[in-house]
């Protein structure tokens, strides 16, 4: 499996650059992942990433898109609680791109 080097430490990732070990995640890794996805992390990005991590800790899976938009809407205001806002932050798809930065496994299936 390929590895990434961040701040002098080595982390194991899968073929698509997702972290293999969830426990390895830290903000340096998140920033590195964001960079590889051409995303500059802002507070808005962190809100989403932090929510994903909290949700994952409780349910062992990333939230459904609808659950995510609702939670963001509650936190940041209704005008941001929609998938356009999330696609604006994570153009390749909030599910996959944000999960990668949050160090969560990639959701796969018929999605």
């Amino acid at each position: 499996m390929p590895n990434i080097e961040v701040a002098g430490k080595s982390y194991e990732t899968d073929e698509e650059g997702y972290l293999v070990n969830l426990a390895d995640w830290n903000t340096d890794v998140a920033n590195y992942m964001a960079q590889t996805e051409n995303i500059t992390m802002t507070d808005q990005h962190w809100e989403v990433v932090n929510f994903l991590r909290e949700y994952f800790e409780e349910y062992q899976i990333a939230p459904a898109v609808r659950v995510l938009t609702k939670a963001i809407g509650k936190k940041l205001g209704a005008e941001k609680g929609n998938s356009e806002y999330l696609y604006g932050l994570f153009p390749y798809g909030p599910g996959k791109q944000a999960c990668k930065i949050a160090g969560l496994p990639k959701p796969t299936g018929c999605i």
């Binding site: 898109v65 299936g109 999605i111």
Partner: protein, 509 residues
Amino acid sequence: MADIVAPAYRTIPIIPALIPGAMEGKGPFVASEKINEAIGFPGQLVEDWHDKAIAKMGELLNKYRSFRVFMDACVHCGACTDKCHYFIGTQDPKNMPVARQDLMRSVYRRYFTIPGKLFPKLVGARDLTREVLDEWFNYYHQCSECRRCSVFCPYGIDTAEITMAAREILDSIGYGQKYSNEIIGKVHKIGNNLGLPGPALNDTLEGLEEDVKDATGIDIRFPIDVKGAEVLLVTPSADFFAEPHIESLIGYAKVFHATGTSWTLSSLASEAGNFGMFIGNYDQLRKIALRIREAALELGVKRIVVGECGHAWRVAYSFWNTLSGVGGGAGEVDRFAQMLQKQLDHRYKQPTHICEFTWDMIERKALTFDKSKNDKHIITFHDSCNVARGSRMGDLPGGQFEIPRNIIKAVANNFVEMAPNTTREQTFCCGGGGGVLTDDLLELRVKGALPRMEVLKQSVDEHGVNFMATICAICKAQFTKVLPIYGFDRKMVGGVHQLVSNSIELGQK
């Protein structure tokens, strides 16, 4: 990945210029040891893969008479060549259905026919070398098992079955595909393709109840694991998770609510999809199907209804009877299948497609609609391959084409057809079916969507179409991804029951 661009529309949609090797080495990720072993396959390519692969091929040739006939029958007439969306989009001659099949047929000739054993060069027979094996892995994952080419084959050769056989052989020697095998592992371990555990599912459904209440003012329930419910709804797990899939789930719930039907989902059978079919593995196919029987027996339901999922409906309609005892045909000694047969109410079709359910209720006038609620949409319908060519609905031939269209026309005012040589039994695959709906195959998926996008563009230009309805979770996910690459809005795709949900009148009946 981000630099994948859509191929240009063809001026005249005929056979494209050939680009030999265009898609060489562009196959999917290989499954890891961990993924393979979790579902009982060898972890990695076994040392004696050559002998094992040939032995497996011999086993399949004896087990499936059809497979041997397909190996023998092709006369290379060429009727299938330009019928494949992947060939049209990639221009790789090995993606002509006949050429893709010949990757295996040439090996078959070498090991299983007398001329091929004696004079291999004369009859185009090839040894199974490592290069040939890699070619199999590459190109048999560039087929979505959609069977459009089979419609045009004068011998009725089912290309999908050859692809399935190839994948079955590859899995048996530890050379499987990551995407499909990982998902099959999740079904067994967690209960659905997405790996959505029970608590997450419950949380999602509770959230949906709130959302629908906010939107309609009515308490629409999304019940789960309710014993004694009449209907068990089995739907793709994407319906709980993704957009636009979830809009159709809301549609099903509204239909059940408005018709006073007692229904339930099941945490055990929280997946309609069955990737066992995609990899051509009967044992996996059956094992996945049996979860639904177990849930049905446990909950004591009288009917099993299947949500908007193309290949699931093929498995349900065509194979569930002998796999699990839903419908007729359970073996006499299959105790649990017999038990389920007695439990189910045979005044209804077993299984029933959600479109059959809804259309039946519309015909009985148990549902009313405010069609103007869909007036912002000019709608067309994309037939999903497995529904179109692997199943049926209702009591009349072609019911699988008419019923979804009838529903759309009953719930909306603006419906137009796409070009007739690309719909119904001649429909083009969305480009993401059969186990290729994965990011590592995105280039293939974008190129494979070309013929459908060309026709969609035509209907957009001529009729102002702004909504393409479909009844398959894979189609919905694939189009959401590729529509923007072709310059369309990703929200143009949605489910038939999304349209139902928009215009159904609640609380009046």
